[in-house]
């Protein structure tokens, strides 16, 4: 039996190192030419509990995760107990000798015999890698890379453990059906959504990042910080989110393209600064990685519940844009694009992601950096008569940087005149508010259009934004396989909307179903508000998990 795709789940307690096992296996799969989609599920604790790292792999391109487990690498009995119900036909379990599983054939690995306890992870990599048919040399190489900072002895003992695992496996009779060999794919990166946002932002010209740690956004910051020196970026962990956003605004004003990253509660604290970005016309990128709320909610899980808050957060009215990447490639593009939009329109721009996509590793073709023009603010020298808020048709005033010329750059949080100085002239207020709001048109013209796929005249049109893109694409494929005329439409940007890009096709579709990870149908509400179009149906999810095609199909079948 050969499979179209394979789900490998590594499960155990926090602190058992399952992410390390998962990353090595995932990278080995990518290097071997497979496509992957990783889903990580973890609890809000550092040790104990129950976490999983699941890799879906295929020799064909993949759009999203699937349910079911084909290979379960169980680091403890709890993993077996919790996940045996998900085991698919033909699946196998890898577990330590003492552990037992009724639902599927179990390879009981004699971990203790094969290596010291602290090399358990390495043994697991070896056995699982072997079962998956991954080349031993590749596993060795990735293991060394993983261990590059450690002592020679530790390295050697690890390689020994790997060898022992592979040798042991060879002697085990098993008929686990691996994936078909993959085509040679050339070199590809393995990136999570958050890493891609960070790298995209660096490609786009990021020069300043401030943040306050908050799951699931922190890895954006850590990715930037790790490269900050090399890339010439100034970063700072702020004392709170209020500081983070105001630092970013100060930096952006002074010429450093700036980003903050945060999650719901931290974003709440940034909304006053968001409004200041709107008023002071300071470029600002906010990467908002969503998790289930309200309040602290489920801090390590996924949700798309903060769309409304992103669109309407901040007091008063001002233009903004919201990018909602659905793939890791789109995350990278969004990182660069957000900086460009923020700079070109001098206003805040969101990148909305969620825990699922943030932590989801994928195989990605190398990016064409040459196609990205990094932002360079303040080409203009402030001349002696420079006016920061000069009136223009587009609403965008030529931007100059303080200290870069003889003139002065005056930015203000109060209503102000073209020169930036505080004013209580009420007629001027209207002129300046109209100026700022005019930028909406430019943002709308620059919008990333939604991406349709599938038949023009669809019986069913599944609409996604953000991370539901992949599951929706897979669900549509499933529907097509059932012979249904299913199309998809993905919004990689949800604001502004340009109805000309989609409305007519929505109106033509038999049934329009919006698929989004919240309870309220926030995007569906936005569509109706902006176009009058009421989606025929809503598929929501708010249990902290990402969508899967199976979930969507089940809902549709109800």
């Amino acid at each position: 039996m050969q499979r179209e795709s394979l789900n490998i789940m590594i499960g155990g307690e926090a602190g058992q190192g399952l992410v390390t096992i998962g990353q090595i296996l995932a990278k080995a799969l990518v290097r071997s030419g497979y496509w992957i989609v990783v889903s990580q599920s973890y609890m809000s604790r550092v040790r104990g509990g129950h976490n999983t790292f699941t890799i879906r792999a295929s020799a064909q391109p993949l759009d999203g995760p699937r349910e079911g487990v084909d290979l379960l690498v169980a680091l403890n009995q709890e993993t077996l107990d919790l996940h045996q119900g998900e085991l698919a036909p033909g699946s196998r379990v890898l577990a330590d000798r003492g552990l037992s599983c009724a639902a599927a054939p179990c390879l009981n690995v004699p971990y203790a015999e094969l290596a010291e306890e602290r090399y358990l992870n390495t043994v697991a990599v070896g056995v699982a890698g072997g079962l998956l048919g991954l080349a031993p040399g590749l596993l060795q190489e990735l293991l060394s890379a993983q261990l590059h900072k450690l002592s020679d002895q530790v390295k050697a003992e690890n390689q020994q453990a790997l060898g022992a695992a592979l040798a042991w496996l060879k002697k085990q009779p098993h008929d686990f059906a691996p994936l078909p060999p993959a085509k040679e794919q050339g070199r590809r990166l393995m990136l999570s959504g958050n890493e891609a946002i960070a790298l995209g932002a660096l490609a786009g010209g990021l020069k300043f990042l401030a943040f306050y740690p908050m799951t699931p956004s922190t890895s954006i910051a850590l990715t930037v910080i790790a490269q900050a020196q090399k890339m010439g970026v100034a970063t700072e962990q702020a004392e709170d989110e209020l500081a983070a956003v105001n630092m970013a605004l100060g930096a952006a004003y002074a010429g450093a393209p700036a980003m903050v990253c945060t999650s719901g509660g931290g974003y709440a604290l940034m909304t006053e600064g968001l409004s200041l970005a709107g008023m002071s016309e300071t470029p600002l990128v906010i990467a908002l990685a969503m998790r289930p709320g309200p309040a602290t909610g489920l801090p390590t899980r996924s949700e798309q519940g903060d769309l409304n808050f992103a669109l309407y957060g901040g007091h008063g009215e001002f233009p903004r844009a919201a990018l909602t990447p659905g793939t890791v490639e789109e995350c990278f593009a969004a990182g660069a694009r957000a900086l460009r939009l923020a700079e070109d329109f001098q206003t805040p721009v969101f990148i909305l992601t969620d825990q699922f996509l943030a932590d989801s590793y994928r195989a990605v073709q190398p990016f064409d950096l040459g196609a990205i023009q990094p932002v360079r603010p303040g080409g203009l020298e402030p001349g002696p008569d420079y006016q920061r808020y000069a009136l223009t048709d587009s609403g965008v005033s030529p931007r100059a940087l303080p200290g870069f010329g003889p003139g002065l750059v005056v930015a203000d949080s109060d209503e102000h005149g073209q020169d930036g100085h505080i004013s209580e002239d009420l007629a001027l207020r209207v002129v300046m508010q109209d100026k700022r709001l005019r930028k909406h048109k430019g943002l709308q013209e620059a919008v990333w259009p939604p991406v349709f796929s599938g038949p023009e005249e669809a019986e069913l049109l599944l609409v996604s934004w953000g991370s539901s893109r992949g599951p929706v694409a897979e669900a549509a494929r499933g529907l097509a396989a059932q012979g249904r005329q299913a199309a998809t439409c993905h919004f990689g940007q949800v604001w502004p909307l340009d109805p000309a890009q989609f409305l007519e096709r929505f109106q033509r579709a038999g049934q329009v179903v919006v698929v989004e990870g919240n309870a309220g149908g926030q995007f569906a509400g936005l569509l109706r508000r902006e176009t009058g179009f009421a989606a025929h149906r809503l598929i929501t999810r708010y249990d902290g998990l990402n969508f899967t095609p199976e979930y969507i199909l089940r809902q549709l079948a109800e």
């Binding site: 702020a238 005056v410 505080i422």
Partner: protein, 283 residues
């Protein structure tokens, strides 16, 4: 040679007799005496009467949110090390709404000159207690008197080893200008807490009240002596010392950033070649 006049003369929205006038004058004098041209200087402020200051002199200006001037100033200073960044806001802004940023900025020792127009009241919102209001002071919002122990910014700043900590008085313009000039010259965070009479709302801490209490520190006080500074920082009652209370030579926050050695970030081109190398780590 820069002169005070280069910084212009503007109409203000302050009450006649307000202590802010003295501070504005001293600030202009200090900037001129430091030979800083208006386009080299960035004034960052929050919201309040004090925070309107940047609108009343010619300079670059980022007039941000109430309480958030220090983070904005920190960001600007990290983006362009060539700017001389001066922060000017009220006691409510710095010690009330912005208290957490105040602590963090002191600990970072960002190279900023921080002027706190400390009128011991919320002026712009018409006279509520501020963190430095004395216990028992009555206002419409505190009809039974203030119950909190007054915040001692000087003591907290010294305890956090801020770079330079001084107290000035709006009624002593020349002396204050001198302090601001020292602050501008100091590399690191220079806090200048400035006693500032609010003639409209603070009927307790008046020119007379301050005048009877302030005295200027002489050579007998060594600002390098941290223990002495700590002790002196608690003197705020019958006598109130003016002058530099504490100074150290801790590395300024900016000096930890190697990228800033190369000048303003906006002048440093993004190197996609290096990024391509970085990407190698993800293959």
């Amino acid at each position: 040679m820069v002169t005070s006049e280069d910084y212009g003369q503007f109409e203000t929205a302050w009450c006649p007799g307000c202590g802010n006038f003295g501070i504005l004058k001293a600030l202009k004098q200090a900037l001129a005496a430091s030979d800083l041209a208006p386009n080299q200087v960035l004034l960052v402020s929050g919201i309040g009467q004090a925070a309107k200051t940047p609108h009343y002199l010619r300079c670059n200006c980022f007039n941000g949110l109430h309480g958030r001037s220090l983070p904005a100033a920190t960001g600007a200073a990290l983006a362009n090390p060539e700017l001389k960044v001066v922060v000017t806001s009220g006691d409510g802004c710095h010690y009330g709404e912005g208290g957490n940023h105040f602590l963090a900025a002191l600990r970072r020792n960002v190279d900023l000159t921080v002027l706190v127009h400390d009128n011991q009241i919320y002026g712009l919102t018409k006279g509520q207690a501020s963190p430095t209001s004395l216990e028992g002071m009555h206002t419409k919002a505190q009809p039974d008197g203030v119950h909190s122990y007054p915040f001692n910014p000087v003591a907290v700043a010294v305890s956090c080893h801020a770079g330079l900590v001084a107290r000035g008085y709006a009624g002593e313009v020349e002396h204050l200008a001198g302090l601001i000039q020292l602050g501008l010259a100091h590399r690191g965070l220079a806090l200048i807490d400035i006693l500032q009479p609010c003639v409209s709302f603070n009927k307790l801490n008046t020119y007379q009240w301050y005048g009877q209490r302030v005295y200027k520190l002489g050579a007998e006080h060594d600002p390098g002596d941290w223990e002495a500074a700590i002790k002196l920082s608690y003197e705020f009652g019958e006598r109130i010392p003016l002058g530099v209370i504490y100074e150290n030579q801790r590395l300024a926050f900016q000096d930890h950033y190697s990228v800033l050695q190369k000048g303003p970030l906006a002048r440093q081109a993004v190197d996609h070649g290096i990024l391509a190398q970085v990407m190698e780590g993800f293959f």
